[in-house]
């Protein structure tokens, strides 16, 4: 990455103005800087804005945009509400060093297709808070690329009783996923998300509807829902797998995710 100018604002207003009015490029963890050949006139480092937090607020948990994957992996608040769901989600990020650098904000704002975390956030019904803009359902945020600059402040999760499971398949333990899937059962409702299709994560709405409000679905119903997920989602080809392979894997991952979340 070629960077002409680098600033580290101390206030979120200052950062937002730099991003909005000076076309500044927000820098979260900056982990892609070496591998990226973009020319950036102005890099805006968000690490001085106090956006690194994970905190319980009423019936929700808020995760600041600068929270790292390691923060998410080791958070007591997240483990209390979601069990090992988040630690299993970020487990495949290569090593503790990279987990100390990768930020929630960089992952969410990048809408990366390969992201494990975005799939899990989608399955939980997360909302994203864009500074001086508003609160958006994460599904809307992922589906509709927002026009113009924005600054992600935090992600809000519903923290009421929840069972969730994350599943993935990859060539090696720390490789990007060939496909990932997450399922959650919260407030008598199933949500199923599938990512690395290889596009960004999407909800399998019809599959989740098939499961209805059944907390512990029977095996046959799970298999039918997994089949529905594979049929309703769109898959593509890339160097890791083709669409047909991903569709076949989708059935298995969704089935496993629902079975595990249903325990």
């Amino acid at each position: 990455m070629e960077i002409a100018k680098f600033i580290r604002p101390r206030a979120i207003d200052e950062a937002f103005i730099a991003v909005r009015d000076q076309k500044g490029f927000p820098i979260g963890g900056g982990g892609w800087s070496r591998m990226n050949s973009r020319k950036i006139p102005l890099a805006v480092d968000l690490s001085g804005l106090g956006l690194r937090f994970i905190r319980r607020k009423g019936e929700t948990i808020e995760i600041g945009a600068m929270s790292t994957a390691r923060d998410i992996e080791t958070s007591d608040d997240l483990r209390e509400s979601f069990g090992p769901f988040f630690s299993s989600t970020v487990a495949h990020i290569v090593g503790v060093q990279l987990k100390n650098m990768v930020t929630l904000g960089g992952t969410v704002a990048g809408r990366y297709g390969f992201s494990d975390l975005n799939t899990s956030l989608l399955a939980l019904g997360a909302r994203v808070v864009l500074y001086q803009d508003g609160i958006y359902d994460f599904e809307t945020f992922l589906n509709n690329r927002k026009n113009g600059p924005f600054l992600l402040e935090k992600v809000i999760l519903p923290a009421d009783t929840c069972r969730a499971s994350f599943q993935s398949v990859r060539n090696t333990r720390n490789d990007f996923p060939i496909l990932n899937a997450a399922a959650s059962f919260q407030s008598n409702e199933w949500r199923i998300a599938v990512g690395a299709r290889p596009g960004a994560a999407r909800l399998a709405v019809r599959a989740a509807e098939m499961l209805g409000g059944i907390s512990v679905p029977e095996s046959d119903l799970i298999e039918h829902a997994a089949e529905a997920a594979a049929n309703e989602l769109v898959f593509g080809d890339d160097l890791r797998a083709d669409a047909d392979y991903r569709r076949a894997v989708c059935r298995t991952l969704v089935s496993r995710a629902v079975q595990e979340a249903g325990k």
Binding site: E2, I3, K5, R8, D45, G95, N100
Partner: protein, 151 residues
């Protein structure tokens, strides 16, 4: 641009380009104990501590480190030497190229985790590759090092 780093307890000033990576700034500044391996954020050879947490200096913009405390293997010399004795005893230090980054991560793990299991150790060190594939010996050395430290 000018940045200030506290490296192994000593403040140093650097003139850098905004896109320079930390590993290059450190090595050009004489800290050649920080090794450069894959240069793509994959192998862990370039690991340093930033404010006490292990990071990959080849994937970190030097500008982001401005004002931070950086600890290289040289700043951990006493602990690293102690750990190196366990590596040698297990025959786990072969070509030695991965050793600086590996030792930094092991020391960070020792400070962060209480009584880690084999799986905890493997998980924590997943980002440190050994091209000689001496992982079993390394695991034995780490366990004996931790046992001796806790004794």
């Amino acid at each position: 641009m000018t940045i200030q780093l506290n490296i192994n307890g000593k403040t140093e000033i650097f003139e850098i380009e905004a896109g320079d990576m930390l590993v290059d700034v450190l090595r050009d500044g004489g800290h050649t104990e920080v090794k450069k391996g894959c240069d793509t954020g994959s192998c862990g050879v370039c690991t340093v501590l930033m404010d006490g947490a292990p990071i990959l200096s080849c994937a970190c913009l030097a500008a982001k480190a401005d004002g931070r405390e950086i600890t290289t293997i040289r700043g951990l010399e006493e602990e690293a030497e102690e750990f190196a004795r366990f590596l040698a005893a297990e025959g786990a230090d072969q070509c030695g190229f991965c050793a600086p980054g590996f030792a930094v991560t092991v020391i960070a793990m020792k400070r962060e985790l209480v009584s880690p299991t084999d799986e905890d150790i493997k998980h924590y060190l997943a980002g440190n590759l050994c091209r000689c594939s001496g992982y079993e010996g390394q695991l034995r050395a780490i366990k004996k090092y931790l046992e001796a430290s806790n004794a």
